[in-house]
């Protein structure tokens, strides 16, 4: 039971349990609005573009991208890391706060986790299509093949990626779904049409809410949380090792794992913020997603962006301190000054400087500002990956190989495709799934005797 004297009210306009249910399920029970269909079509078109681009890539070859002998990775891995980063928010959000028993999470975690699942799906797409011979992708699995058998290379960060990301997808998806079961049950119970009842009945796994179920339910959630919390950290550390374990100047850095994890949480929270603000506006959820929530996330972002700033400066300092020509060149003559100056400073300003505005309560209160900054942060995070990958690869140890990189329409198309997948996912989510964990909201609602 939640004691409101310790913390401020988490749900405004003292509601009854009934109200909670009806208000949160309202969007599903209403007819779909016009804008919903509009966006669906828009994203479907984007998806078609993406699918076409992937088709071209697979049938003609990676040559259709802007890569070259010096630069083996471009937008594919940039976007992969970016999506993974975004995909970190949801789980990080709900799980850390779950473990910390931060109850204000309850109205946000559902959406955050949904976002995670979709983002990780988008991310997972890239390592597949960036392969030269996607039809042999199964080689990467350690299955007992008939070649001796020849196993895979367990030293390779790419293999770690495969393991970690698939695990992460599995864990976060199940975590999200289990948490959803009781709410699906309530949808089922309120359903009027036969079909809807049947479908949601099937989806809700015959949930009834008996005390035993609740006990096991909470235990499972806790165990999963406990498992996924380290996983969240592991996954992005592993992604960072794709770079950290190599020899390239600007990649070969021990600060990468923490730096990437923080970066992931940074971009993730920003994305959560973006989404929640939209949902709140569209569905009038300001009673559930209160200014308190926005404020809290704002504070976190401020803190995290400070860490990012530290990471950047550490990198630069270490480069100078190491005295290694390659490092110095990469950081001082290729990032701070040189070809990729723009990208570098965009990254720094977007991630380390602009978020500092959150120090001001005014700005934290001003939704539009928060919204804009949250978007800026995600742009900044994209540029961070761009800087890391492109600068280090285009100007490597041997000046004779120095090259440039410009993405082709195909690469852009694939990016658009993944963005559309994300959009579609979100749209379907807000249409067919209770957007907030009702049962948990009810838990934190003050006990009421009047009826």
């Amino acid at each position: 039971m939640y004691d409101k004297t310790i913390r401020g009210v988490l749900i405004k306009g003292d509601k009854t349990y009934g109200q909670i249910t009806s208000e949160i399920l309202a969007p599903q029970e209403r007819k779909a609005p016009m804008w919903w269909f509009a966006f669906m079509t828009l994203f479907t078109i984007g998806l078609a573009f993406g699918v076409y681009s992937m088709y071209v890539t697979v049938t003609q070859g990676i040559g259709t991208w802007g890569l070259n002998n010096s630069l083996g990775w471009g937008w594919d891995i940039i976007n992969f890391v970016w999506w993974i980063g975004i995909g970190h928010a949801g789980t990080a959000f709900s799980i850390f706060l779950l473990i910390l028993r931060q109850r204000w999470r309850t109205s946000i975690n559902r959406a955050a986790e949904a976002m995670t699942v979709v983002a990780v799906l988008c991310a997972g797409l890239y390592p597949m299509i960036h392969m030269g011979r996607i039809w042999n992708a199964f080689f990467i699995m350690p299955y007992p093949n008939s070649r001796g058998p020849l196993w895979v290379n367990f030293n390779s960060p790419l293999f770690w990626d495969v393991v970690a990301i698939s695990t992460y997808l599995m864990a976060s998806a199940t975590f999200w779904y289990i948490g959803m079961i009781p709410d699906l049950a309530s949808v089922r119970d309120r359903a009027t049409s036969k079909i809807k009842k049947a479908i949601y009945g099937f989806l809700s796994f015959g949930w009834m809410g008996s005390a035993r179920s609740w006990l096991r339910f909470e235990t499972t959630a806790l165990i999963l949380g406990g498992l996924t919390a380290p996983l969240v950290i592991a996954v992005h550390s592993i992604v960072s090792m794709d770079f950290a374990t190599s020899v390239m100047a600007g990649w070969h850095t021990t600060v990468f794992p923490p730096y990437f994890v923080v970066g992931a949480i940074f971009s993730g929270f920003a994305m959560v913020l973006t989404l929640m603000i939209i949902i709140r506006k569209v569905f009038k959820f300001q009673d559930f997603v209160t200014d308190g929530h926005i404020d809290a996330i704002g504070r976190i972002l401020t803190f995290v962006s400070l860490i990012m700033g530290t990471a950047y400066s550490t990198e630069i300092f270490m480069a100078w301190y190491s005295g290694a020509e390659g490092e110095i060149y990469t950081f001082f003559h290729n990032r701070i000054a040189g070809d990729h100056t723009k990208a570098f400073w965009t990254m720094v300003s977007c991630n380390a400087i602009i978020p500092q505005l959150f120090w001001f309560k005014k700005i934290r209160k001003n939704l539009t500002m928060v919204f804009i900054i949250s978007i800026i942060i995600n742009i900044g995070m994209w540029f961070e990956r761009y800087v890391i990958i492109v600068t280090s690869l285009t100007k490597d140890y041997l000046p004779s190989n120095w090259a440039t990189y410009r993405p082709t329409i195909i690469e852009i198309g694939i990016y658009a495709g993944t963005l559309s997948i994300f959009g579609l996912g979100v749209l379907l989510f807000i249409r067919y799934i209770p957007m907030m964990a009702m049962s948990e909201l009810k838990m934190i609602l003050k006990p009421t005797s009047k009826k």
Binding site: G18, F205, G206, S210, A211, T219, P447
Partner: protein, 176 residues
């Protein structure tokens, strides 16, 4: 017929709790309590326990050694290859082991949850009462053990159940 149940429906958490205590005092065993959200008091009152953490722990141990053994066998015993002048048996195994540990444990836990709780696609609740997933609380008393249904229902009523109902058929009637 053993599926004979007596239901007491409440609309107030406090009433529910008090009545649970009352009923237990009066020596009637409560079969189940259905709530729209987890109420720890209820769980305590019913003295429910779960062994899921044990399952999780065991599977974790299994995953740890299973994966470690597998990695060692594949890359040192079965088909040793040299990569970049490093020994075949490297520290990098830790990462895979760690992740696989989480993976296996998670899967096992979830599955055991579903199996133990008889939840899964197509499973149906035995009670379909309007609002149990919304804002109604139900105390379920097994009608087989406590044959004197009248007493039970009175008790429930007295404790403020907004409604008392039965599902299934009492055995006595079934005999005729």
């Amino acid at each position: 017929m053993s599926n004979y149940r007596i239901l007491g429906v409440y609309n107030n958490e406090d009433k529910l709790l008090s009545s649970i205590h009352k009923i237990q005092e009066s020596g009637i065993t409560i079969h189940d309590v259905i709530t729209p959200y987890p109420i720890h008091e209820v769980i305590e009152a019913l003295k429910l326990k779960t062994r899921l953490p044990v399952v999780a722990f065991i599977s974790a141990i299994f995953a740890l050694f299973g994966t470690g053994g597998f990695l060692y066998w594949t890359s040192v015993v079965n088909y040793p290859l040299v990569f970049g002048g490093k020994p075949q048996n490297t520290l990098s195994f830790i990462i895979v082991i760690f992740v696989m540990l989480i993976n296996v444990t998670a899967v096992v836990t979830i599955l055991s949850f579903f199996i133990r709780d008889r939840k899964g696609p197509g499973a149906v609740p035995y009670l379909d009462y309007k609002g149990i997933s919304d804002d109604r609380y139900v105390i379920v008393v097994d009608g087989k053990i406590n044959t004197n249904e009248q007493v039970v229902s009175d008790l429930l009523k007295r404790e403020g159940a907004v409604e008392v109902a039965q599902i299934g058929v009492p055995e006595t009637k079934a005999n005729h």
